[in-house]
Subunit: 620 residues, 2 copies
Amino acid sequence: RMQNSRSKPCSCPSLKMREVASMYFTMVAAFLVILVVALQGSAPRQTDFPYKVPLDPQGLLELSWNVSYPEQAVHFQLLIRELHFGLLFGMSDRGEFENADLAVLWSDGHNSYFGDAWSDAKGQLHMDSQQDYQLLGARRAPEGLYLLFRRAFSTCDPKDYLIEDGTVHLIYGILEKPVPSLQAINVSALHGGLQRVQLLKPNISIPELPRDMKTMEITAPDVVIPSQETTYWCYMAELPEGFPKHHIIMYEPVVTAGNEALVHHMEVFQCTAAFDSFPHYNGPCDSKMKPERLNYCRHVLAAWAMGAQAFYYPEEAGLAFGGPGSSRYLRLEIHYHNPLVFKGRRDSSGIRLYYTATLRPHDAGIMELGLVYTPVMAIPPGEDNFILTGYCTDKCTQLALPAAGIRIFASQLHTHLAGRKVVTVLSRDGRERQVVNADGHYSPHFQEIRMLKEVVAVFPGDELITTCTYNTEDRSRATVGGFGILEEMCVNYVHYYPQTQLELCKSAVDPGYLRRYFNLVNRFNDEEICMCPQVSVPEQFYSIPWNTFNRDVLKSLYGFAPISMHCNKSSAVRFPGEWEKQPLPSITERLREPGPRCPPAPGPQPAAPIPLKLGQLRRD
Amino acid sequence: RMQNSRSKPCSCPSLKMREVASMYFTMVAAFLVILVVALQGSAPRQTDFPYKVPLDPQGLLELSWNVSYPEQAVHFQLLIRELHFGLLFGMSDRGEFENADLAVLWSDGHNSYFGDAWSDAKGQLHMDSQQDYQLLGARRAPEGLYLLFRRAFSTCDPKDYLIEDGTVHLIYGILEKPVPSLQAINVSALHGGLQRVQLLKPNISIPELPRDMKTMEITAPDVVIPSQETTYWCYMAELPEGFPKHHIIMYEPVVTAGNEALVHHMEVFQCTAAFDSFPHYNGPCDSKMKPERLNYCRHVLAAWAMGAQAFYYPEEAGLAFGGPGSSRYLRLEIHYHNPLVFKGRRDSSGIRLYYTATLRPHDAGIMELGLVYTPVMAIPPGEDNFILTGYCTDKCTQLALPAAGIRIFASQLHTHLAGRKVVTVLSRDGRERQVVNADGHYSPHFQEIRMLKEVVAVFPGDELITTCTYNTEDRSRATVGGFGILEEMCVNYVHYYPQTQLELCKSAVDPGYLRRYFNLVNRFNDEEICMCPQVSVPEQFYSIPWNTFNRDVLKSLYGFAPISMHCNKSSAVRFPGEWEKQPLPSITERLREPGPRCPPAPGPQPAAPIPLKLGQLRRD
């Protein structure tokens, strides 16, 4: 629009700016072509890209990356083992190919091109007006073609994905035929898929490891991976008899070579000390042959998911295992993800524990924050964005935490299938202070234990507020809280030290207020909803006619009604005190969403005052 | 952050870009200093700035401006009759000096400076990182100093005000002493004030006027303006006996010279034809001496407010007056705003009507959209942002509008003192299509009839949805709908042609559903609210304990409950049909908020694909 006013000096800056910019960019482009050619030889070192995941189940595409927090940018190295006529790589909200932010390499059969593109709601590709996937180099090697590119976390291009902490859904697509142009690429016909990763790995310095450190591998013994998409494999291991108390101070994955794309995640659980022994087992976790007692092996010792690296405990703490009062029995669970249903693949993956007999100053502990597993917390059907909140109140932390506080250093977020976002915020004196852990693209299929970027100190009187966002658009009846896979949870397992007696700090709406809600809905809508006391809470939720009023009032209820607190030493033992009909924590000051940090736009004038020659101004 | 990575070619573009930009801006700054000096002579023509308002009550600051829609920018000419040591001019949400966007001219006693600044929530001034008030010139003249500057509607600087349609609150402040720097200016100690204007006047071509056009001045006869801040003056005029039907095709203000800063707004009303005659009157509208019958003179013929220009009817229509069935009596109402309580000022301002006996094809009409004046629509106390919505339903427009539709060409928004925003949207088949009129900075103290930028065609079956936003933070009890100044309204008077019988198309919540709400609140809160049927709706609202649940559920009620429609020929006569318990119009597609149009940020690479020298890509 500014180009129209040629004669006005005021509008020139932008115009000239563009000309200058255009010339400049031409230079940059020429330089880059040269760079690409020049790089055909020098290989970047492996240590330049410490993180690595296969993108596709065959491992034809392999992504390595690093994160520069000073630059607020990610550098990607993409290895394409068999390049056909190009490929798409990018990011989108939940792994869909629509509304995605893409780097595209394509060939028209003669020449190849690279560009930053975006796909619209129909999957149509468009060149981005602002090119934010910056190509740094391309290099042929015996194993394939390497592409190197850089992407700032935030570009301020509204078409671009904002790279945030937590899960990022990476997508890839392979071009099998030449395409005349970017616009000609048909996204729906692509061979492609998605891979979830934590792109912004925290930048944590590795603590010094003691000399007497030993290792123990908890690995599956030569499993034949079932030829089905999803298998949860269970294997029981046991510690030596009389194994004394040790501290686990680190663990890392052991993945059988060649199976990197199949081993999706693994966890080691310790069984309860309530039983003296557990049967041996090596088979699918959902098998009818699996002994019932294995369900009592749920205390997490270690957890790994694809793309994760070794997990280090902070130098002041270790996770206790062995010794009296702890079970010798461990359960290894491996999630094999085999969408191409390979047959006869053998695997001996697992987790290698690093432990020491020289106990560190503190035992680490795990605490459950969020919602109690109860049907009183429910989500109406057909919601795209329904929020439930669980509270750990000041009253509970006052009672259960030591005066010096605890330090949370890692967190594992957990919901069932409807979960889309999870966040825990620390509040003190009614003011939100710090995000403990947040995942705005949370997936129930990608539940890692994540080291926090910053250790969070929690003191007596602090509040920990965990908020989960659910999508129930595909459901026709209410989703209630509970243990079932079609029921929901909202949990943050926080890893902290020093260990306290507080194992559970969770809440649910007061059941009396929920009864008032059922009554109100009944009367307001003139409907015959059975209010007979023998009808269960889920049945009452299932019978509600879900009009906008009943939905809104349920939200209002959850935002208003007092809560029942579970401030527990173990899942069944509460701390002494009154925990029913507790007031909701009130928040007087919220944390501000960090705005995207954009490069400054070219202002039409400099940010300095303009001197005027007006002479002396008049005095009164 | 990018400066840290000197060795990486990828991060250079931004860095170099800044250097180039910096050099460039230095040049521009030098150029502007020269420009300012050069302009000390050539006077811009008056027609360059067609709109004019005094900023202060003494008229020492006079603002003229023009609007360039192609450039999306406003050019300002500010005349400072008595310059002391500088001045502030700017815009803010509602005329406050905090969080304001300011152009500042200041002198340290020796030199003068101009800059774009912003004030924070405490009123402290800061230089803007992006200078968007672009100084175009400064010129001394016998009458004072002229400053010329330009401002784009949207700058994308988050500190800047976004200039939108509707009311803009301009603020000014005069520096009485030299200041060493911008930061040293103490905003709270300034002599300053605010002036409301419609900055973005529509760009309407003036229709051709007929040769037989006559004029009639409805002016107050030599009024002595009372020496008080606010006076509404009433004067009764009458048309000649036997005056036949004419069309008013234009009107303009007649403001007595020297009183430009005192005459705030003026309206001419026609009295009802129900009475044969009306008494003469010339005095304050709130005087006890004012005859009661003057309250029956409420049909708007013409309305003007400060900063407005002549009002032209579209060439196909005129406003009928005179002739049988219409009253000869007119009431002129003038709002004098005299904050400096000048004494003895004489005034003969009023409105000049341009009319013709050659009737145009269509009579123009006025229709009331929004909410019925009833206490069932209420706003809880202490709300900063409470929304009420009034509907003109498809059923009513289906019945009352001609098949060819009507054309809305002007609109006057109306609320009482708590109103902060008003918007009317046209919806067809459940999809929002067009904003009829919107004011995001609406003030009840500045109610103009505004020409629409685009004439809006409304057809049978269309819906017109009027939404008002209220602030009741200063109130301790509920604000109910009604005629009183402390009760509320939500109305859009739309001016349209051809005139139809439909005078009122408004709604209110179904009173039965509101009773259910009172019951529900009563039961839910276990409170003793008197539900006796003899208690009035306002009394019931006043007795509600306003916790978050009761507030939320009232919002849910208004968003869910069926409505009672007033689809009326006149305020008491409904069109035939069933108008009670009507369903709320459902909207399946909303208009998108237009995002701010920013100048494109300098991308690190051009928006063209980068050619790669990879050779032929492999074929399968």
